[in-house]
């Protein structure tokens, strides 16, 4: 019989790592430089607006029929502004660095013990090619009532709807991550809802906030529809910048989603096959950089004003469309003192077939954006009137509950 002391000696000798084989091949300064460069891209093109609050960028672009609470309002405003900065800055970061080809450094030139770059090239294709192909079965119905959601920067997020759709994204799939869709049956939906409620985070007396839609995630958040039909949210559940340093309840529900296929019976799924999320609606929004050499001069352009700058066939497709505006929220300067630009992010939200027709008006354009299908993208056109400038057009899929499906974590 082996004693515990002997056992520990044996275990120590069974160490699979040979010491001394992991000496760094670069000095600290070089390593740090690579870490920072890597982080800039791995975090999907994130602009360093405010590291603690801007990494995640899911934005409610729809006006709500209900009054937003003041807390919710500033969160939306902050994230909306941050999101536009994120996208806008990323466009220019990428363009400046490599002429339009996104590179994803993770590893390689400095040996096995230092992070160095490998490169993934995002194909530069015309806008229409980045949309669901004609004839693709789109996610239906076009709109959906959210039942539960959980998201954490640098990790992923999940949005579950009453009709059973589970739409999510997982950062483990970077750079080929995508919005994906599965579908649960009623029992599956209820099981997830109960799993959220079982965390105790939404018990009476807990500081949950009733919201009309899930708030953006300056760190991490979870929300669920309670037994009374109210949508309750807990926000900022990250304890720090480490994506895994989150509140145990958020960790629990994220893990629950990640392991859902093994947590619930097969017959609680309607379709457990993971498919690309083919959005039924897309947003079209616009930004411009007033100083081509200054990343801080990115400005959102009012959608109606931008429409007037578009080639006539493209503009005609948007005629009669009213932009969904966030002007009211974004102009709440007291809520977001970091916003001094005064821009008012808004977007046209159109059915996917209209989005495709719009994109087809730019057959010569080459898009940029994160790799992977089922994602957003953008391209820039030259504008000559009223003055020579450029206009960047962004297209992002919409979530069924009306958020722009934009993920920067």
């Amino acid at each position: 019989v082996t004693t515990e002391i002997e056992m520990m000696r044996l275990l120590e000798r069974a160490d699979p790592v040979r010491r001394g084989n992991a000496a760094p091949t670069v000095d600290a300064a070089q390593y740090l430089e690579r870490l920072i460069a890597r982080d800039r891209v791995v975090a999907v093109d994130l602009a360093p607006v405010d590291e603690a609050s801007s990494d995640e960028s899911v934005v409610d672009m729809e006006t709500s029929p209900r009054e937003h609470g003041s807390r919710h309002r500033w969160l939306i405003a902050a994230a909306a502004v941050a999101a536009v900065f994120v996208v806008a800055a990323s466009i220019f970061v990428q363009r400046n660095s490599n002429g339009g080809v996104s590179t994803v450094p993770t590893d390689s030139t400095a040996g096995s013990t230092s992070p160095a770059p490998t490169t993934t090239t995002v194909p530069l294709v015309a806008p229409a090619e980045r949309l669901p192909a004609e004839g693709t079965t789109l996610s239906t119905p076009e709109t959906g009532e959210l039942v539960a959601a959980a998201a954490q920067i640098h990790r992923g997020g999940y949005w579950l709807y009453a009709d059973g759709r589970l739409i999510g994204i997982n950062d483990a799939d970077y750079p080929n991550r995508m919005w994906f869709e599965q579908r649960l049956g009623p029992a599956g939906v209820e099981a997830v809802r109960q799993a959220f409620l079982a965390t105790g985070m939404f018990d009476p007396g807990q500081p949950a906030t009733e919201v009309p839609a899930p708030p953006p995630v300056p760190g991490g958040c979870m929300c669920v529809r309670d037994d009374d039909g109210r949508m309750l949210a807990r926000t900022d559940l990250s304890h720090g910048l480490d994506p895994h340093d989150v509140d145990p309840a958020l960790e629990e529900v994220l893990t629950y989603f990640e392991e859902l296929e093994s947590r619930i019976p097969d017959d609680w799924w309607v379709d457990r096959e993971i498919k690309h999320y083919a959005a039924a609606r897309y947003s079209i929004s616009f930004i411009r950089r007033s100083d081509p050499n200054d990343a801080n001069t990115n400005e959102a352009v009012d959608a109606n004003a931008a429409r007037a700058l578009l080639p006539a066939p493209a503009a005609e497709l948007l005629t009669g469309q009213e932009p969904r505006t966030l002007e009211q929220l974004a102009n709440d300067k007291s809520a977001y003192p970091g916003d001094s630009s005064g821009f008012s992010p808004n977007a046209f939200v159109v059915p996917t077939d209209v989005a495709r027709a719009f994109a087809e008006q730019f057959p010569e354009a080459l898009t940029e954006g994160p790799a992977g299908p089922a994602y957003g993208f953008w391209w820039t056109i030259a504008v000559t009137e009223p003055e020579a400038t450029s206009l960047t057009i962004m297209m992002w899929p919409m979530h069924p509950h009306g958020e722009v499906a934009m993920w920067g974590g």
């Binding site: 520990m8 275990l11 000095d27 600290a28 740090l32 013990t113 997982n170 480490d242 893990t255």
Partner: protein, 182 residues
Amino acid sequence: VHSGEVRFASLYDRCFEPIHDYCSRRLAVDAVDDAVADTFLTAWRRIDDVPDGDRALVWMYAVAYRVVGHQWRSTARHRRLQERLRSTVNRTGPAADELAIAGDESRLVRAALDRLDDAHIEVLRLVAWEHLSVGDVAVVLGIETGAARQRLHRARRRLASEYDRLQSRATVNHVAPPEGAS
């Protein structure tokens, strides 16, 4: 030079090898560099929170523990996603331990270790391979010292039991793979 960079340089010099070893013991070889980078990136972002002196390495182990845990979860999910989508992406590689098991005794010990649950495996690794005290193990795992001590005690006992069981089988020249292994 910014004081944060000076602190980072000191942390890098002191901790790179042990953190790299830590990740190598727990991840497939092609995931190690990313995990090390994530650990040091977290340290850089929180450089003012990193304790001084010897406590810095324990703090780094605590970060690495969480990074590695996330990589495991992510890898499992990633694999399922990629299988479903019939992607050609293949980022898995042989585990470090598969490459480095040297000799039957170590093989037997590791086979026994693999039969324990994750919590027990981790506490044993931290003590035997990272040479941490029970108090430091508690810090890394984010649990009370008493709980760490109790967990270690149980883990040792179970490891010895599994080892003896395997050893008795090994006498007939056969080491059974851990349950569930292919």
